[in-house]
């Protein structure tokens, strides 16, 4: 089970290392959004601390959707997904592998971009470890739901359009949780941050477990 997932993670990392398609697309898109926000909200005149968490997460989720769209495209080329389905072991292992790879890529992007966001929006860097926990947990929920729907949409023609339409409504709880927890972490309000982190963890649990259970049936050709 885990061996199958880990083989998929290894394969995705090697492919991404060669193509740099996901990382490049998500990094560039999110960095551009940060830049545009910088021009639009004039961080020199205004203190953006209050809206900073919202701006950051909007950028990450929109940019991340680009990456999730790519995730199953390599699997559809040459019918590779059929090869994965034919391999022994649970088909849920395919979900787990793709989800872990997407989480890795998205977390890497956020690690690089979060300091850039603070700098471009002229907000002093605060939050430390709590902020890191918010990034990690919110990204689990986002990539788990996103990987699931990306797999679901992969068998349809308009998957690029379908994914955001299906994904964004589902993401509302993660957006709220991530923004509130980030605000709490930045304000040094550990109690608020932890409360919202708990909510994020509950959402994460649902969106890792449910796809895990239904992926078995999802990949029927």
């Amino acid at each position: 089970m885990l061996a199958k997932s880990m083989a998929i993670v290894w394969k995705d990392v090697v492919v991404e290392f060669r193509a740099k398609e996901i990382l490049a697309a998500v990094l560039i898109f999110a960095a551009l959004v940060a830049l545009i926000f910088g021009f639009a909200f004039d961080p020199v005149e205004h203190d953006l601390t209050g809206i900073f968490p919202g701006l950051m997460w909007v950028a990450y989720f929109f940019a991340g959707t680009l990456g999730l769209n790519r995730s199953f495209i390599t699997e559809k080329q040459n019918d590779a997904l059929q090869g994965l389905v034919l391999a022994p072991g649970d088909r849920s292992a395919i979900f787990l592998g793709k989800f872990l790879a997407n989480w890795l890529f998205m977390t890497l992007v956020e690690l690089i971009l979060t300091p850039v966001f603070f700098a471009l929006l002229n907000v002093s860097f605060k939050g430390g470890l709590l902020l890191a926990a918010v990034l990690a947990l919110a990204t689990v929920g986002f990539t788990a739901a996103g990987t699931f729907l990306s797999g679901l949409a992969a068998n349809t023609r308009a998957s690029e359009v379908l994914l955001p339409i299906l994904l964004f409504p589902l993401l509302v709880p993660v957006v709220i949780g991530a923004v509130r927890a980030t605000a709490g972490a930045m304000a040094g309000d550990a109690a608020t941050a932890v409360a919202w982190l708990r909510a994020l963890a509950a959402y994460d649990a649902v969106f890792v477990v449910v796809p895990f259970l239904v992926f078995e049936y999802l990949l029927e050709g």
């Binding site: 083989a7 394969k11 090697v14 492919v15 060669r18 193509a19 019918d79 059929q82 034919l86």
Partner: protein, 238 residues
């Protein structure tokens, strides 16, 4: 029946109201190669997908080694498949593709097995090249190597001669004979009548989702086959 090998009974497959397969039954014993012929759209690929448990039949059952195959879990580890697609990743090298599939199948002593297979399909010289740079024939050789990597006992092949040059065709025939010699069972969809009749033990002719003809390859000469095929399909082979 002996209970070994693969058996299908009364397989039907409908897509909406269209019946693609109707009451297809077959038996495939270890050490046997069975060819499936038939015109485009006859349902050959659909039948292979049903047998591989890639898609569920609307009716009928599949038995592997005497036991019903439900979700394919019991069958998958023992089965190698060459489908319409190559199942390969263009950005990975030939070696990396095989290493990946070897991990999925938990192949022991994997690196040795991978170089052995690459040599066997004549791709030793290109082991470190990305598949994206391969010709169609090289990809097909690697696809065949991928299907054999985990030493399957059942081989399902959908038009495996596609893209192969003359040397590649002879290689595939050698590999099939070797596979059968080791007790493997193979179902082989093909339009290359002469080569396939030469290597296979039996053949089925599928037309409009039904088995319309069958025979032993050894007992049927080229002229007899042409007549049988025309009777079954309504048009001569080729």
């Amino acid at each position: 029946m002996s209970g070994a090998g693969l058996a299908a009974r009364g397989i039907a497959k409908r897509f909406g109201y269209r019946e693609i397969l109707r009451d297809v039954s077959l038996e495939l014993e270890p050490g046997q190669i069975c060819a499936i012929f038939g015109p485009n759209g006859a349902g050959k690929s659909t039948l292979l997908k049903v047998l591989a448990c890639l898609t569920r039949p609307s009716a009928g059952e599949i038995l592997w080694e005497g036991r019903p195959v439900k979700d394919g879990a019991s069958l998958r580890a023992a089965m190698g498949m060459v489908g319409h697609g190559t199942f390969l990743y263009d950005l990975l090298t030939a070696e990396e593709n095989l290493l990946f599939y070897g991990r999925l199948y938990r192949v022991g002593d994997l690196r040795r097995r991978v170089s052995e297979i690459l040599e066997r399909v004549g791709l030793g010289f290109a082991a470190r090249d990305p598949v994206a740079t391969f010709s169609r024939g090289m990809k097909q050789r690697l696809t065949i190597g991928r299907a054999l990597l985990h030493r399957p006992r059942l081989l399902l092949m959908d038009e495996p001669f596609t893209g192969l040059d003359q040397a590649g065709r002879s290689l595939l025939i050698d590999l099939l004979r070797e596979f059968r010699g080791g007790g493997g069972a193979c179902l082989l969809i093909s339009h290359d009548f002469a080569e396939t009749l030469d290597v296979a033990d039996r053949f089925l002719i599928l037309n409009r989702g039904r088995i319309a003809g069958a025979g032993d390859c050894g007992a049927v000469g080229p002229a007899d086959f042409a007549r049988l095929y025309e009777d079954a399909v309504g048009q001569p082979p080729d």
